[in-house]
Symmetry: D2
Subunit: 335 residues, 4 copies
């Protein structure tokens, strides 16, 4: 098994994926998409930034959108770009422990200022992919029972991010070392290499996942909804309000994770998954489920392959040049 044993006593304690900071070309168009179609709620906004949260979230933001510019992205304007992905630690002390940990791994470490957050550690993983950690964030009033506010797909919370990695074994090893636990993974039988892996902190199937491909890039951000009917409602809404081209893949059931899914793209091409039907993974001795790369049902239990775009397109990180994976592409791509 190419999967490292879980580190049950990591140097510091991460609670969960917290939020993603995206650059967008047209803040007005993105605001419309994220509030009316996705149905996120605005926590705050100014000329250049929009702070959003999902319906059950009681902290300030799970998505930050910022007007794109040369300052925030070195990518061409038609390539969607990400500033950072941030994780919440269990306690304030965990930030200091994380600082020391990443320093010991020869990663760059810096304390940065982030609005509505406490102390924030900026660092990166083994492939120079930016990561931020913080513990404190401003609290917001609970709105999960204000049902008149529910709109669009009625998202309850951010669930996970999925990354392209040019070497998923390395990514999995690096992230496992500070406590992320693999729940499911795909192995390339020929090379015994990890093709893709799902790792969690919060007790669901994943907070992060890594798939071999041109990376590091962000593959998608996922939001949790309660039932498949939310996803069907979203499809009906998008296909009759000018967002037909933003439907990329689905609806379907992943073999891996058993999730009922839909993949859509925002106006910049950032990919978003709508997701339900997770299972509990809080037991530290729950064994990872292994899938064979040649099993078509790992991708879609019901058999339909993913489109080529799903394997190829992603969002880049500022200052990070993606590299190709040395593993061959998945054999199961829709023509």
């Amino acid at each position: 098994m190419p999967i490292p044993a879980p580190n049950l006593y990591p140097d510091f304690n991460v609670v969960r994926l917290s939020h993603v900071h995206l650059n967008v070309q047209d803040l007005t168009a993105s605001k419309k998409f994220y509030t009316e179609i996705l149905g996120l709620q605005i926590s705050d906004e100014d000329d250049k930034n929009l702070y959003l949260r999902a319906m059950e979230e009681r902290f300030h933001h799970c998505i930050i959108l910022t007007q794109n510019s040369d300052e925030v992205s070195d990518a061409p304007p038609d390539i969607p770009s990400v500033q950072t992905v941030a994780f919440k630690t269990y306690d304030e002390d965990d930030l200091d422990k994380a600082y020391a940990y990443f320093q010991s791994k020869n990663r760059p470490v810096a304390w940065v200022e982030r609005p509505y957050q406490g102390r924030t550690l900026q660092t990166s993983d083994c492939h120079d992919m930016p990561i931020e950690f913080f513990h404190k964030m401003d609290k917001m009033p609970a709105i999960h029972q204000q049902y008149q506010l529910y709109r669009g797909v009625k998202p309850l919370r951010i669930d996970h991010v999925n990354y392209f990695s040019y070497h998923a074994d390395e990514s999995v090893a690096f992230w496992s070392d500070f406590g992320f636990r693999v729940t499911e993974y795909t192995e390339d039988e020929a090379t015994k290499r990890v093709w893709a892996a799902w790792l969690h902190r919060k007790g669901g199937v994943h907070d992060v996942a890594f798939t071999n491909g041109v990376g590091p890039r962000l593959h998608h951000i996922a939001f949790w909804v309660p039932t498949p009917l939310n996803i069907i409602d979203l499809l009906d809404l998008m296909s009759t309000t000018g967002y037909l081209e933003n439907i990329e893949r689905g609806p379907g059931r992943h073999g891996i994770s058993n999730a009922f899914f839909l993949y859509i793209t925002d106006p910049d091409g950032h990919r978003i998954e709508i997701y339900c039907s997770d299972y509990s993974t809080v037991d530290p001795d729950l064994e990872p489920i292994k899938w064979d790369l040649t099993d078509p049902q790992r991708q879609t239990l019901w058999g339909a392959p993913a489109p080529r775009s799903w394997f190829e397109e992603g969002s880049v990180f500022h200052g990070v040049t993606p590299r190709k994976s040395d593993l061959k592409a998945s054999p199961i791509i829709a023509p």
Copy 2:
């Protein structure tokens, strides 16, 4: 508009599609599929025949399966074949009126014996496609509130059949003349010909539909279920019990009819649609909805095209040689 005006006062009164009589190569395999996967209930069976009904139906059968043989089908064994499609009339008298009507149209007419049914008229439409009419059928106890019997997709009733026609304008004209009313249709802009049309008697979007193609053949039989979750449950069940290859298309939402759909095939290749989200069409002055053949959303509101098999494969009728349509194929086919 190429659609004929509805005939509000037809010569005889048809209530609805009643049942379909299919030939099958392996009655045991088909029984398993129709009872455990589709979830139909057995009304009666013998060595060669199986009579089935859906959960809210209180008459004897909506599907008859018969062991295939040279007597019942002149098609090669690998081509799925149909004995007949039958319709229920409003009254016993309507059978005599139908006899006279079809005779006047120079169609063959005969009274035939059918188990569990009263007098049954055997005739055919303008393309020699077999049709049967009857009024009386044996009644069965109501089981719609015996929830422990619900299995598979939990089908409530047979809803409609869809035919390939080699000349859909002719089919629509013929069926409209005895009272079937068009609810939606696709027009080929270039020729002003009907590409496909949906016609009803019972107050839903259709009892029958005709699509241009190699015909006359049966394209599919549809069963009505209450919610999209029935369809998702069926996909999960089929994909984990050896029926993955029997999932052909979907789930999706048709633009036409607004139905949430799934197309599957039985062990012989007879196509079955699972269907919900119909609307009421009881008003005789409800205007047909016209769709353009080049509008991809007519097929699937959410944009995914149908696979080639869906346009090409169908079930043949005994003694009837299908012909090609002179209209070109739909431009919207998945590669």
Copy 3:
């Protein structure tokens, strides 16, 4: 059996329940309730009237709300009052046939002007309860696929009305005579009298129902929604937007009709049912289902009795004084 045989060939042909015209004390408050909570769409409005339709309806209105005044109601302002309930005929000729029919039954008949409708016949039933018939109504653009318009409970169509009758046997006999067919009924074992009955024209369980009680009064108007989740969403919405007191009964499953239901009241106290899970009744020889008055599952399959208000409160008709039934009240009332 106390139920009359269905009249398969009535003097005139009614297609379905069309609309209900209600008086309201505060048109602004009612508009908010009917558009934001029920989610009906406005077809037209002026200072005193609001015309509404449900999402799949393509004719002008299914509900008319009119500002209450002495002219439109002789009831005290705190008693909800109804102007009329209207039915659509199959053809224009059916109006003349209906005129002659009701005249022959010694009922008052008059042609009245109704906005957006063609010729409208005003008459009344055997208990002086107002009825209107018309054939033509202005058509509206289809909006069932404009999903951004869906709000509140997302109602698809008006389904039926339920009346209190001071003598349900008489009501059932009168309405059966012009073609309404009983689908289910409750019999009082002691007297062999009908306690309540459900009658249809359109092929569902009912267009109208009659229950013994102080009548004639309107018990409720029902709207059809596709799934129980619409009803759960409505409960969440009403209970968090100031409409908690307007939730009267449910959610539950009726034994009779098998409907999943919720009963709510509008700001005036007019009762509205939200309803799904109907079955098809187009077969004229479908036998009525008989329920025993002492069977608690006829009311609610799951066993919870209805509150007293549900048996006692209703909306009155202008100029009609309700009378008590001589049958004793149902033994199954929540304490």
Copy 4:
């Protein structure tokens, strides 16, 4: 605020509620109920014991049923009785730490043998209520994607237990001290005492809850299902298979926890909740939501009060005599 601050660094680490061991009068009747109605899967059984798990669980059991006898219960046979409720620790070491912890609190401690489990610590809480802790349990093959096995309400996992406590403040203080965190609670305004509180370890609203009443007793065991439709299906099934009397309360939405719920009783009277719509509570600084005891929406967002039985009936623990709470009963009980 009467709620203690959460103990972020408890002496030992509990992962989640694991299982409940119930005594039953008729193992055959209980087996039928738990497998056909609840839909749990049998992991093992012998003449006197039945081991069950839910569909996504990969450890051996979440419910143990044992044939009742004087040895296992000192309660009269008509009073449902419980042997123990067991919790899984994060690691094997945590058992030793728990042993020392409970010993230091002057609670009885003992290592006991439990089939299919590793070392098991038997102890009790401040009110002598039995608790067991273990870390290791036999693993079972994953069946969450074997959809043909899903039956009854299709339960995915055990979620929580709810206890009657004769002094909820004491219970909350005791359990908080070893790391259970309060997510929501009801305060009695007059006395500033806790009426009821919900506490978690696994990142949901609760693993355990305490309500003032005659205690310690088990109020209910809850199973998690994905959608409200599972609950509606269960109601339909129970009400038509002889379990109508076993439906106690619901369906409804709790204000507290926002859960969509149904309460049923097993053949012995053990109460079971079917539950969905939880929210994530993994953040250690998520503030508890406070409810007022006089707010009717805390119990049921939609307004219907709970029946008296729900406040009074529960399952007793062997060797533990329940005592009355000194707080007055909730003012909101259905008449």
